[in-house]
Amino acid sequence: MVEALLFWFLALVTLFGAVAMLLVPNPIYAAMSLVVSMIGISGLFAFLGADFIAGVQVIVYAGAVLVLFVMVLMLFDLKSETQAFSKGLLSRIFKVASVGFLLGGLIGVMVLEFSWILPVFMQSSPQWTMTGVKKMAQLLFTEYMFIFQILGVLLLVVAVGAVALARSRGGTHERA
């Protein structure tokens, strides 16, 4: 029962943040709503026992990524931004309808598959505790070593790429 209440609380927070992000015209508010949503998701992660990931979620997403967004938005200083959506009422209706359809499909498929309608076991298995993090680290550096390394390349690309883009013609730090 407590779990249920907790779940519903977190779920509502998350959904509220997501819906708000979708609806508010001001991008800064949207970013803030997204932060709320992400924190909610982080809570859900924790609820599912993925403590480490939950932490990372808060730090990386809510902390780093969204801050980046906000900074950029502030850089732009979009005061005049009053309209949330693109033009075209009809196309909006169609878009919402189609996404609704897609959602229906996803959920329908899930409902058809009865194995998922099982209660979530709250007692955490040994794997999922702090030793789980160690396990994860082990996995990361053995089984998924390759991916880990490649991600390093990716980050380098991002670093160099962002700089290069900024300094290229038309970038923020264009060379004369």
Partner: protein, 646 residues
């Protein structure tokens, strides 16, 4: 001399003449050389044909022919077509007539065409014509005959359009060729029919394979084949309904009209039917058609001849009419009579055409008989030779026309292959009409008072032209004795038989006399013809010389008929309007609406639609990335629906 050598001379002399004149004639220059060369070539050919005639006559009675094999023309599977020539009694006479009359006309042309710049071309065409005509009559199979058949048509085309700068003359040549082509197409089909039935196109084999019994069946291959061949005849021999080209063909030089459009080429159809006499007699329905068409042509052409003012046109219609007689004779099975008339007609009609040529030459290329008159004084030689031709064609004894025409009329009644009184009656009327318009021609041209203006004094033609006239006049006068009718022969000393019939006996089918028709009938008919012709001739002469007003009144009285005759029964107009114009117009419509309008349009439409499709795709590519994402989602949904539908 061997037959091969003689035959080579016969064929190649004109060909060499053609080549020589065609290639070098213009370079040699002068107005004499081409003519002389061509005439010599023609004469050599004539000599060769005399030799061949001699050789044929020396052959035994059972196999009275020579076959000259040259090479194989086409050979595909079982279809074999050798280039092989046949000299038999029939073709030996034909080559004599062709080369003989041809030589005379060549000589005449030397004078007639002397001032024409295209004289070399003219003589080369003339030689080439001889060559083709000889192929036509000596070829031993239908396709070979067809080679000559089309070849002479080609020469006719070239010679009619000889003065091509004149729009109408060029048109006339074209018309002649195309109308002939209609017949030729049917001729081709006829050949196919016969080949499919008999498996051969060899003339001798066809005749020998032809069934002995008449086949009364419209759908029998023999009937169909012979009918189709006959359509070819109506083209070449200017029968109803394809006769329209011949009057127009008078656009060519007059000697050409004499040679091609009177003496030789136009008789090719008759020759062909005579050639295939056994085949034709096996198809009685065809014979009925042939007889009817022939008679119809004979009478209709005669009526049209009455109203012509152009001296050559009169002769042209007369030719059509006489060809009608020949065809008619074939139709009643009197092939020998037809051939007899063919020969005599060649003589007297060539004579008359050349005479007309001489008149035209003397009148400085004036062809309208209303402008002539009184020429008997100015051109006595021409007049007297023309007179013989006239006597011959109106059928007064002892001139050649009498014998041959009389024989046709006799068989019109007496032949057991469809002879009857109606045929005879129509033939008789036709001959009277002939007498009428020929006498009219004589009256206008020679007997009337002079009408030409003083500064255009007519003059007698030079000897190169008159000598051939005289020779032809002699032939026209005496040619009839080749076939003396039985009735007359009986009372003559020594009972000379019908030489021509006897000579042709080995190769053609001869008719028998109907039961109950006796020799008295022959006398009766002969009498009726002679008296009729004589009377009509005298009356006509009187009317035209003394009572011209009566003629004019009659004409006004029967204005409608006159008009119909002048307009050639509106046949030409009918063809022009309903065939030619419609064809061209509908082709133009077809082109505009089907070729361009449908097919091309369709092709372009397909291209356009494809492009529109492309434009549609491009329109989806709106540039808005949210739309792209939307399309992606739609695609995703379609995927999901598709995959979960089952």
């Amino acid at each position: 001399m061997s037959s091969e050598l003689l035959f080579s001379l016969l064929i190649f002399a004109p060909l060499v003449g053609f080549a020589f004149n065609g290639l070098l004639g213009k370079k040699l220059g002068g107005h004499l050389y081409p003519g002389v060369i061509a005439s010599v070539a023609s004469f050599i050919s004539f000599v060769a044909s005399v030799g061949l005639f001699q050789l044929v006559s020396e052959q035994p009675e059972q196999a009275k022919y020579l076959v000259i094999h040259a090479f194989d023309w086409m050979q595909v599977g079982t279809f074999r077509l050798p280039v092989q020539f046949l000299i038999d009694p029939l073709s030996s006479i034909m080559i004599l007539v062709i080369t003989g009359v041809g030589t005379l006309i060549h000589i005449f042309s030397i004078g007639y065409m002397a001032e024409d710049p295209g004289i070399a071309k003219y003589f080369s065409y003339l030689n080439f014509f001889l060559f083709n005509m000889l192929i036509l009559v000596t070829g031993d199979s239908l396709p070979l005959l067809f080679v000559g058949w089309e070849g002479v048509g080609l020469c006719s085309y070239l010679l009619i359009g000889f003065w091509y700068e004149d729009h109408e003359k060029a048109e006339a040549g074209m018309k002649a060729f195309i109308v002939n082509r209609v017949g030729d197409a049917a001729f081709l089909l006829g050949m196919f029919v016969l080949y499919s039935h008999f498996g051969t196109l060899n003339l001798l084999e066809l005749n020998s394979l032809a069934p002995k019994e008449a086949i009364w069946n419209w759908l029998d291959p023999i009937t169909i084949g012979t009918l189709l061949l006959f359509v070819g005849v109506t083209g070449k021999s200017a029968q109803v309904p394809l006769y329209v080209w011949l009057p127009d063909a008078m656009a060519g030089p007059t000697p050409v009209s004499a040679l091609i459009h009177a003496a030789t080429m136009v008789t090719a159809g008759v020759y062909m039917m005579v050639r295939l006499s056994y085949l034709y007699t096996a198809a009685p329905y065809t014979m009925i058609v042939v007889a009817a068409i022939g008679l119809l042509t004979a009478v209709l052409a005669a009526t049209m001849g009455i109203v012509q003012w152009d001296i050559k046109k009169v002769l042209a219609y007369s030719t059509v009419s006489q060809l009608g007689y020949m065809v008619f004779a074939c139709g009643v099975g009197a092939f020998s009579a037809a051939f007899f008339h063919l020969v005599t007609h060649a003589f007297f009609k060539a004579l008359m055409f050349l005479g007309a040529g001489s008149v035209i030459y003397g009148m400085h290329h004036q062809q309208d008989i209303r402008e002539m008159g009184g020429l008997n004084k100015r051109m006595p030689l021409t007049y007297w030779t023309f007179m013989i031709g006239w006597l011959s064609i109106i059928g007064l004894p002892p001139f050649s026309g009498f014998f041959s025409k009389d024989e046709i009329k006799w068989f019109a009644l007496a032949s057991d292959r469809g002879g009857n009184w109606i045929f005879w009656g129509l033939a008789w009327v036709g001959s009277l009409l002939t007498t009428f318009y020929m006498t009219r021609l004589m009256a206008y041209t020679f007997w009337r008072d002079k009408k030409y203006s003083a500064d255009h004094q007519p003059h007698e033609s030079p000897w190169v032209m008159t000598v051939p006239l005289m020779i032809l006049a002699f032939l026209a006068a005496t040619g009839g004795f080749l076939g003396i009718p039985h009735a007359i022969a009986q009372i003559l000393p020594g009972h000379p038989n019908h030489w021509l019939e006897h000579w042709l006996k080995p190769v053609i089918s001869l008719p028998t006399i109907k039961q109950g028709i006796t020799v008295e009938y022959e006398w009766l008919l002969m009498g009726l013809s002679v008296v009729g012709s004589f009377t009509v001739a005298m009356v006509t002469r009187y009317l035209y010389l003394n009572r011209i007003d009566l003629i004019d009144r009659t004409r006004e009285r029967f204005e409608v008929i006159h008009k119909v005759w002048v307009h050639k029964y509106y046949v030409d107009a009918f063809y022009q309007k309903y065939f030619v114009e419609n064809l061209v117009l509908s082709s133009r419509d077809l082109w505009r609406y089907v070729d361009v309008g449908v097919i091309d349009r369709l092709v372009n439409k397909i291209a356009d639609v494809t492009k529109e499709l492309g434009r549609g795709f491009a329109w989806l590519q709106s540039g808005n990335m949210q739309n792209y994402a939307f399309i992606t989602i739609i695609g995703l949904i379609i995927f999901v629906l598709f995959l979960f539908k089952g």
